[in-house]
């Protein structure tokens, strides 16, 4: 009997306070009835082991009490698809933001990469966990108190996004233009053609820093690989595997090169001809600052394009 009272007490602790006495009284009667039926069948009182088995069979106190609660779930099936959608969307944005910030930090970081990686993993974990927790709380409140959920039910088909927008293939014209530009860039980098880029005036001339020569072959290889990728996209779009592989390889390679270039810290030298030295030094600073901003912008655009490409490739492979 002591076991029965302890069991009922455990159930009571998790019941709504208003109905607890009533529910416990009914459960006591149910359990005693069950015990009496077993005692009658055995012709003797139940032992402690048999009482224990009877209570275990009836269910864990938390489970028994939970069945009396009005809300049986945190987020119900009606709003669960919206919950999952917002979880993926906002979680993805947060993860992307933290990763992008880490990439920028890595590019400008001097010293050991270990603490940076540990810091990134920590930020990613807490940001994503915090996002999941916050969205879950918001949807649990919607589930419990309603109100906002009617906005999920009132929708218009015209508001739906265009067909397959995230996985849209580039058009033939777009691919053709990319090939032409890629070819021009390759020929210019290899020195086969010259474009009239003003690198010199009466007062000064601009000279590339040693980093460009140091990375001459890797940059040439990247431009060539990108050109092959664009050619496949233009002429053989059905070769998805090869295109995807080249796309991801060039994306990663490009990011590595951008980081290496950024870390060099010096990209262009102003060589004065008639310009006074102090003015040349000022100009040098301005050129460096402009290039620094430019490289960061290119890195951000390149990273976004690479992610979009990866997404397109994954979607294409799933078809």
């Amino acid at each position: 009997m002591d076991l029965l009272e302890r069991y009922l007490n455990a159930v009571r602790r998790n019941l709504p306070a208003r109905d607890a006495d009533d529910i416990v009284a009914e459960l006591r009667d149910v359990l005693l009835e069950r015990a009496e039926a077993q005692e009658e069948a055995r012709g003797r009182p139940l032992g402690e082991d048999e009482w224990e088995k009877l209570l275990v069979d009836f269910g864990h106190p938390l489970v028994v009490a939970a069945r009396y609660r009005r809300n049986q779930w945190l987020i119900g099936p009606e709003i669960y698809p919206f919950y999952l959608y917002f979880l993926k969307l906002i979680g993805g944005i947060v993860a992307f933001g933290v990763t992008a910030a880490a990439v920028v930090q890595a590019a400008i970081h001097e010293g050991q990469p270990g603490p940076l990686i540990v810091g990134y993993m920590g930020s990613l974990w807490w940001s994503v966990a915090g996002t999941i927790g916050s969205i879950t709380i918001v949807f649990a409140l919607i589930e419990r108190y309603g109100g906002v959920d009617k906005h999920f039910r009132t929708w218009r088909p015209a508001q739906l996004p265009e067909i397959d927008l995230p996985g849209k293939e580039p058009g033939r014209w777009e691919s053709g233009i990319e090939v032409a530009l890629g070819l021009a860039l390759l020929l210019w980098w290899a020195g086969a053609v010259h474009f009239p880029i003003p690198m010199q005036s009466d007062q000064f001339r601009l000279e590339g820093a040693p980093i460009w020569m140091a990375l001459y072959w890797p940059i040439l290889a990247l431009i060539a690989a990108r050109l092959i990728h664009n050619l496949i996209q233009w002429l053989r779009p059905e070769w998805r595997w090869l295109r995807g592989l080249l796309g991801i390889a060039t994306a990663v390679g490009g990011l590595i090169l951008i980081v290496l270039i950024y870390r060099a810290g010096h990209w262009m030298t102003v060589v004065p001809i008639t310009m006074p030295a102090d003015q040349a030094a000022e100009l040098q600073k301005s050129v460096q600052l402009g290039l620094r901003i430019g490289i960061i912008a290119v890195a951000a655009v390149w990273a976004c394009q690479s992610l979009a490409e990866l997404w397109r490739w994954v979607r294409a492979m799933q078809r």
Binding site: D19, A25, E26, V30, F58, V63, V64, R67, Y68
Partner: protein
């Protein structure tokens, strides 16, 4: 699941539980046209071929009472206080409507499965 794969036993069990879940409310309401307390209600359902877990039965009775379909009172029987349930007037009306719906569903299923 691929076409033609054998249906696993646990899947059938899940589908069976889902199918029975809705019908249990109807069975409980039907059985409580006569006043009963928990134990006798459960044994009458079991005798009719619809055994129900006690853990599910008592919360269901409270919910139906909160919805105004059942009324209950504590009375002494066999030296112990027991809670007796029976249908309210609203419960009788809703039971009639649900039975109509049940019969219509049954007819439709029989028509669709070609047994009629």
């Amino acid at each position: 699941m691929k076409h033609g794969m054998p249906v696993e036993d646990d899947l059938f069990e899940k589908l069976r539980v889902e199918l029975r879940r809705g019908s249990l409310v109807l069975a409980v309401l039907g059985a409580l046209r006569v006043e009963r307390y928990g134990y006798t209600l459960r044994t009458s359902l079991e005798a009719a071929g619809l055994p129900i877990d006690e853990g599910a039965l008592y919360p269901l009775l409270r919910r139906l009472e909160a919805q105004g379909l059942l009324s209950s009172e504590w009375r002494e029987e066999a030296r112990r206080n027991k809670r007796f349930y029976r249908l309210t007037d609203d419960g009788v009306r809703v039971l009639g409507e649900l039975l109509g719906e049940w019969n219509a569903i049954s007819e439709s299923i029989l028509r669709l499965t070609g047994d009629k």
